[in-house]
Every structure is written in structure tokens, then in C-alpha cells.
């Protein structure tokens, strides 16, 4: 049998003593999560991911946060760096034990999603 990866074991450990999801979710301040996401910039455009409209959703699941987001274009060379940026930024929020970056390509991002008055 293939041994479990450390990531898998970490995820499994979250399930050992499950608590009511609402209680744990309430421990994470989602405003701080969104503020943390706003510190990650697309260096070419010069705007942060939230202003660009790249972050579609952020939700707390127990002590983890799942961030559903996209990139400006499929094959974006920034993919790994932005994923790691999201993880780094949200991990720093108090109460967050794990970050689940969920990269999606639908709906496809377009510049019309940039927040008005961004420039």
C-alpha cells in the first residue's frame, strides 16, 4: 500500500476530533482572510487579486479556509507563485490551520471583472 503523504495525514488529523463546523468556522475572521488576500498582487498588472476580481470565494471549513480563485489566463506563468502567495497570506490569519487553494477556470476571468475605480 502506498504510504500516506504528510499533507494527507495533516488533513486526516483535522478529522480526528471533529467539532461542529459552525463553531470552528466562526473562529476564523473572514474579513481578515479577505484582507490577507488583498495583499497578494499580480506583479504585471500591479493590482491585488481581490481588486482584480480573481478571488471568487473564500469559505471557512472548520479550521481550514478554501479559497476559490482563478488567474487572468490559462497557462499563466504566475500560477504557482500566486497559489503559494494565497497560501502564505491566508495562513497568517489567526485560527487558520490549513489553506485549500481551489483554482478554477470557469467562469473565465475577463478585465470587466476588475473593481471599478481600481486605477
Amino acid at each position: 500500500m502506498t504510504p500516506a503523504t504528510p499533507e494527507f495525514l495533516h488533513a486526516a488529523s483535522l478529522l480526528d476530533e471533529p467539532a461542529p463546523p459552525t463553531a470552528d468556522a466562526a473562529a476564523i475572521d473572514m474579513d481578515r482572510v479577505w484582507a490577507a488576500l488583498a495583499t497578494v498582487i499580480d506583479p504585471e498588472i500591479g493590482l491585488d487579486l481581490v481588486t482584480l476580481g480573481l478571488v471568487y470565494d473564500a469559505e471557512a471549513i472548520e479550521n481550514a479556509v478554501r479559497v476559490t480563485f482563478t488567474l487572468t489566463t490559462p497557462g499563466c506563468p504566475m500560477e504557482d507563485i500566486l497559489i503559494q502567495g494565497v497560501v502564505n497570506a491566508v495562513s497568517a490569519v489567526p485560527g487558520v490551520d490549513a489553506v485549500l487553494p481551489n483554482l478554477v477556470w470557469e467562469p473565465r476571468w475577463n478585465p470587466g471583472m476588475i473593481r471599478e475605480g481600481a486605477w
Binding site: E7, A98, I114
Partner: protein, 483 residues
């Protein structure tokens, strides 16, 4: 019973784990999306451990080449750019006289077309292929080797031309041609691997870029063979009176077949990305690829039996292809969300404007032929130095700082404030470079058209000043590191 209870517990835990890990569409779309959602499985990530930031090897995009590969190409290209710009000052009076076949002018033309434009395209493609086609270059070792053969070969070829050493010219031509053919083989193998793009989220864009790059690869190979024949003709003279026709075919297969098709294919992905352009129709780009492919293909196929009528048909197809590309570029610029153009985009826009000027001169140059060498020289100058060289220089301000940011600052994203790509260079010198380069090209073209030899060298000095600023800024950018 114990086993059943354990199985039930395991199933429950597995279901909870699956819920935690499952990919989900964005909340606002959940009601309307189901199986149509394309998402990659969510990755579990734990908070980073305390300590130094992980290096690029841990974070870098999986298909991006190592920094060294594009960087060494850009360094070599910038070297040829500086030598070419200084050589321009030296040879400016000959250009103004319309001596487009003088050894110095031929040497300069190759410094810009091969040393500056082609080497830059090679370095940029190594970075761009994974983005545009989802496929990295087939062999990085071959990519290094092709540059190792190419750079000294071109240097020897140029020196041989200027010094009048035909053996060195031919040896250099053979050496850099070998380097180019290695590149052609490597790129062809990469395109073969990337030929299946149906189902990709960006399949339509990939298809256009793929066909453009396939054409560019074929026409680069043809350019090399024509060039070797012309180089051999310098010593053995076997082309006779046909040498000017062969020179024209060589130039146009190189410019319209190799460089323009790469520009059309790459700009179709990069311009909307850099301009944040949205909603622009993309049919002009497809028309451009089709017309350039067929026009240059026809030129190659029938160049040995070119009637005046056929020549105009081919010219019409190529001009139509370039006009379609210009229309596409204008549509991208008009549909942009980015309000202000940075220096890089200003240079690229200047290149596009010079392309329009070159198209205006082309029919007159073709009609007059060798009877008006000034016109032919001015046409090639605006095309190579104004349109293509400045378009390439503009992309340096986008690609090179991005590369440095990606490898040096990217690993810090989300941990600490990081600069923007545009923060890696100063705007004011960059804008000065744009002004000097544009003024230099305009001055040189006017001096050549109006046979004003006295004005050629000052104009070349302006161009050289702009070129040196670009090179100095790239050097500064390459030294930027996190504090």
C-alpha cells in the same frame, strides 16, 4: 461487528475528507454550473514553516525554463543591440546614400535581424511556449547549444563582412546557420508535442498561435538556406544577376515569414494580457496568419519564376496579412482596460506605427526596384529598425523585469510586500529611450529618403543613445534583488 463499525467510521471519515478536498465552483455560480466546471483538484496546503523563504526551485512554474536559458539569450541579444546601434552611427552616411548592399550595411542589417530580433525571439519563446501552448521547449540542452553556435558564428560573419574576409564570412554563416537549424528542429519538435489542444480552456487562442509558430519555423529554415546561398555567392558568384532578387526573397521570407508570424502569434496572447483587453474580435489575427502563410509560401514556391503580376499578388497577400495584424493590434488597444500605457507598450505601439509607414513605402519600393535604391533602403530601415526592432525593444520592458521578478521576488508573495514589475525600472529614462529611438528612426529614414547625408549621423546618434539607455536599464533590472 467491530469490522463493520470500523468500516462505517472509515467511510464517514473518508466522506468528510472528500468534502474538504473536493474542487468546488465559485459560490455565485454553483446553481448554474455542474459538470461544466473545469477545475483542478484542490491542493491541500499547510501553513509555511518559519524560516527563509523557499527558493524558486520549489515554487517556480512547473514548465517555465530556468532563469539562465532566457536570460543568456537576452544578454547576447542586448550585446548585439548595442554593437548594432554603435555601428549605425559609423555606417549612417552609407545608409543615407542608399547603399543597401554595402558590406557595412549588410553587416548591420544582420546584427539587428539576427543578433537582436531573432535571439530575443528565441529567449522569449523559451519563456512563452509553456504559457501559450502548455508545452516547454523540447530540449533545453539543444537550446543552449544553438546559442553557443549562433553567437560566435554571427560575430564572425559580421566581422568578415566589415573586414572583407570572405572565408570568415562564410565560416560564420555556416556556424550561425547550424545554430539556427538546431533551434528550428527543437521548436518543430516542441510544436509537434503541442499539436493536441482541443478541450483546453484557451483552445482557440492556442490554435492561432500554433499555426503562426509552425509557419514561422518553416520560413526560418527557408531563410537560413537562402542566406547560406547568398553568403556562398559572395565568394563564388553563382547567382549572377539573380542575386538582387534572391536578396529580396531572403529578406521578405525572413521578415514576413519568420519575424511577422512570430509577432502575430505571440502578440495574439501577450497584447491582450498586457493591455487587459477584453471583448476584441479575434478574426483579424486569423486572417493575418492565413495571408502571411500563403503569401510567403507562394513567394518561396515561385521565386525562381516570378512574373511582375505574381509579384504584386504576393505583395498584396503579405501586405494584407500585415494590415490584418495591425487591425487586430488596434482592436486590442481600443478594447483595453488599462488606462495608461507604460514605456514598454509605448515602444511596442511605436513599432506598430512604423510598420504602417513601412507598408506605405512597400508598393513604391517594389515599383521602383533597383532604380531607386534610396527608397528601398528607407523601406528596409523603417521595417527592420523602426517596426521590428522597436516592437521587440518594447517587449523587453515587459518580459525581462517579469523574469527577474518571477525568480527573485515571486517566492515572497503573500509573505511580505513585493514590488510591481514596473517598479523594477525607472519610468523617466525609459520614456527618454522611447523618444530617442523614435526620433532616431524618423531622422534616419528622412535622411535616406531625401539623401541628406549630413543628417544621418546625428539621427543615428539619437538612436544609439536610446539603445544604450535600454541596455543600461536592463542591466540595472538584472541586478535587482530583494533587500
Amino acid at each position: 461487528v467491530k469490522a463493520r463499525v470500523r468500516l462505517a467510521i472509515d467511510r464517514s471519515a473518508a466522506a468528510r475528507l472528500a468534502r474538504l478536498l473536493r474542487p468546488v465552483p465559485p459560490r455565485k455560480e454553483r446553481s448554474m454550473m455542474s459538470s461544466a466546471v473545469h477545475s483542478q483538484p484542490a491542493r491541500l496546503a499547510t501553513p509555511p514553516a518559519a524560516g527563509p523563504a523557499p527558493g524558486p526551485a520549489m515554487l517556480g512554474s512547473r514548465m517555465a525554463p530556468p532563469f539562465r536559458l532566457p536570460a543568456e539569450h537576452f544578454a547576447v541579444a542586448l550585446g548585439f543591440w548595442v554593437v548594432g546601434a554603435l555601428g549605425l552611427v559609423w555606417a549612417a552616411p552609407e545608409i543615407a546614400r542608399g547603399w543597401f548592399v554595402s558590406p557595412r550595411v549588410v553587416a548591420l542589417t544582420h546584427l539587428f535581424t539576427l543578433g537582436w530580433i531573432t535571439v530575443t525571439i528565441q529567449g522569449a519563446l523559451y519563456q512563452f511556449l509553456p504559457v501559450a501552448l502548455g508545452q516547454p521547449i523540447r530540449s533545453q540542452r539543444l537550446a543552449h547549444l544553438s546559442l553557443v553556435l549562433f553567437a560566435p558564428g554571427l560575430a564572425g560573419f559580421v566581422y568578415g563582412l566589415v573586414a572583407g574576409v570572405s572565408a570568415l564570412t562564410i565560416a560564420g554563416a555556416v556556424l550561425f546557420s547550424l545554430g539556427l537549424l538546431l533551434f528550428v528542429g527543437n521548436l518543430a519538435a516542441t510544436l509537434w508535442c503541442a499539436r493536441h489542444f482541443a478541450g483546453a480552456a484557451d483552445a482557440a487562442e492556442r490554435r492561432l498561435t500554433w499555426w503562426a509558430l509552425v509557419g514561422a519555423t518553416v520560413f526560418l529554415a527557408a531563410t537560413v538556406f537562402l542566406g547560406v546561398a547568398l553568403s556562398g555567392n559572395l565568394r563564388w558568384g553563382f547567382l549572377g544577376a539573380e542575386r538582387f532578387l534572391a536578396l529580396g526573397v531572403h529578406l521578405h521570407v525572413a521578415v514576413a515569414g519568420w519575424v511577422m508570424l512570430v509577432i502575430v502569434g505571440v502578440a495574439h496572447r501577450l497584447l491582450p494580457m498586457f493591455l487587459l483587453s477584453h471583448g476584441a474580435p479575434s478574426w483579424p489575427g486569423a486572417v493575418a496568419v492565413g495571408l502571411l502563410w500563403s503569401g510567403v509560401g507562394l513567394l518561396l514556391g515561385v521565386h525562381h519564376a516570378l512574373s511582375p503580376l505574381l509579384m504584386w499578388v504576393i505583395a498584396g497577400m503579405i501586405i494584407g496579412g500585415v494590415l490584418s495584424f495591425l487591425l487586430q493590434a488596434v482592436l486590442f488597444f481600443r478594447h483595453r482596460r488599462k488606462p495608461a500605457l507604460d514605456p514598454g507598450l509605448r515602444l511596442a505601439a511605436s513599432g506598430i506605427a512604423f510598420l504602417l509607414v513601412a507598408l506605405g513605402l512597400a508598393p513604391f519600393a517594389l515599383h521602383a526596384g533597383l532604380a531607386a535604391p534610396h527608397l528601398a533602403t528607407a523601406y528596409v530601415l523603417v521595417l527592420v529598425l523602426g517596426a521590428l526592432s522597436l516592437f521587440v525593444a518594447g517587449h523587453y520592458y515587459k518580459i525581462f523585469p517579469f523574469l527577474v521578478w518571477f525568480h527573485r521576488f515571486g517566492p515572497m508573495a503573500g509573505r511580505q510586500p513585493v514590488p510591481r514589475v514596473a517598479d523594477l525600472y525607472a519610468d523617466r529614462p525609459a520614456n527618454a529611450a522611447v523618444a530617442l529611438l523614435v526620433a532616431g528612426v524618423v531622422g534616419l529614414a528622412a535622411a535616406t529618403l531625401f539623401r541628406a547625408e549630413w543628417a544621418a549621423r546625428p539621427a543615428a546618434l539619437l538612436f544609439a543613445g536610446g539603445a544604450l539607455i535600454v541596455a543600461a536599464q536592463m542591466w540595472t533590472i538584472s541586478r535587482r534583488r530583494p533587500e
